[in-house]
Amino acid sequence: MKVASEAQSPTAEVLSAPRPHPAGQLSLVPLWALFVLTLRQHVHGRRWIVMAVLFLLPAGLAVLIRSTAPDAPPAVIEFLLAFMFIPQALLPLVALVYATGIIQDEQEEQTLTYLLIRPIPRWAIYLVKLLATLTTTIVLTAVFTALTYTAVYIGSSSGFADVSRRCLTAIWIHGLSVAAYCCLFGLIGLYTRRALVAGILYAAVIEGLLANLPFGLRFITVIYYARVLAYRSMDFTLTDHGRKVDLADAAWQLDVRNDPGLEGHPQLQACVLVLTIAGLACAAFGALLCARREFHVKTPEGS
């Protein structure tokens, strides 16, 4: 077979033809398009409705408790809902549902092909989709946390400024927690097709059980750092019949009585740093994994 010289080759002309962006350069246009596409995917379908209904639960429970037990202190309701129910149950769940499907959903719905054949590096596909997932879950968490605070404190004697400050602090802590969960579950979603099962096991055993034991093992849980963050930045004590009660002490196994300064626990900055670094490490590892592995999209031929 005769081989053409480069001058005769159509490939040389083709590759030098004007394109939206020169070869090798990473353009922001497809990345932004992917970000928008992922956001739109998140707000379509039943998943969005289920998540919204679940996130309405704390606000609904607050209304129910306040209407059936008008004497219940709002601070107790706030602690139970905003610092027990939401971080323990809802945040891992929302992260699990959205983050494990970052790539897996596209793969199962066979639409991943449309992303893989675009001028977007594989690592960027993962990171951009993760970023969109973080945006969705953080916005969802912020809106419904604010709604919960509204339901807990509306009509109470608590000052607006104080409640707003507490609400913003809760949103900040929840946002950081859900981001860490998303990064972790996103990585799990790349590792196993049974990411939902693995994630539920993780949330139940590691976050649910280990975090509540006063041992060093809880240092590997997200919820532990979220609790220390909350305890260091908010006051969870209230006066009951002249006696000061610390709601978080017993519930979070912080041993405040023997260690009032929480010397045995990380500082606020350290908690933020640990959650941020852990999240970034999971994201980077996920991106690396995504760049190196191939994704088999089922074809009707089955080959």
Partner: protein, 322 residues
Amino acid sequence: MHPELPREVAGPPEVKPVVEFHEVSKWYGNVIGINKLSVTVPAGVTGLLGPNGAGKSTLLQLATGQLYPSQGRVRVLGRGVWNNPSLNRHIGLCPEQDAFYEWMTGRDFVYTCARLGGLSRPAARDAAGRALETVGMTRHQDRAVRGYSKGMRQRTKLAQALVHDPDVLFLDEPFTGTDPVARRELMAIIRRLGAEGKSVLVSSHVLHEVQTLTPNIILLNRGRLVAEGHVRQIRDLIDKHPHHIVLVCDEYRRLAGRLLAWDDVEGVRVQARNRSVVVETHAPDAFYGRLPELALEDGLAIQEVYSDDDNLDAVFKYLVNK
């Protein structure tokens, strides 16, 4: 490639191949998708033929960088395809799977693909409009994809493959599930793309579909290359093997008797229903050369002569069944 067939490469010899597979194997665990495949695809329209499970989709997924070869090297437009996203500006794929973002309209879907391809908003809008017009979907572009017929879905998939004006198009079973009218129209579109200078690799397991699109074919079976080249070249390749020629004649039985006496005739089969005989020969040129004499003999007026092997179907069956 079939071991007995001499290696031929299709297309004009002066032109560098658009797609090159060099000793490529791809296996999924114990299952072999592609087996030591070396093949080149020239510029223009090329048909990728093979039965279901032959490895056509695997080949296209390797060529578009979705899969990494277990062995060997894949190049498109002279460049490696794995983890080479900039190459994707030059290639388009119409995948086999019937998958979409179902909640989108056709226009939205193609526009989104254009944006993912790196086009600015106005450019993507224009390109989506053009691509949808090319595939005849302008009228239905504002309907949700979930309500589309199979033919409309295939056209929309083709539109997303075309929207960024790629130089090389990979079409995986683009006619599957389409009605005859849609099929004809899709074929016309593909022929037009070829005429416009695009390189198109069309996979199909239906021979007549590809036959009407291009004479350049690649035959795959069980992950192996069976043959490649112009359909004529392939027919020439199988001349080493019995070549079938059909002679239609009223006195077909007498004709069969005469033909049996010829040294280069391997066998003769009578087809009473068609009033014809099928001759099996290894020397078709010599046979055709002596045929006029026979036709002139009294009572042996041969009404029609044609080769079964001119039909791609026959070539395909012959080669694949080997």
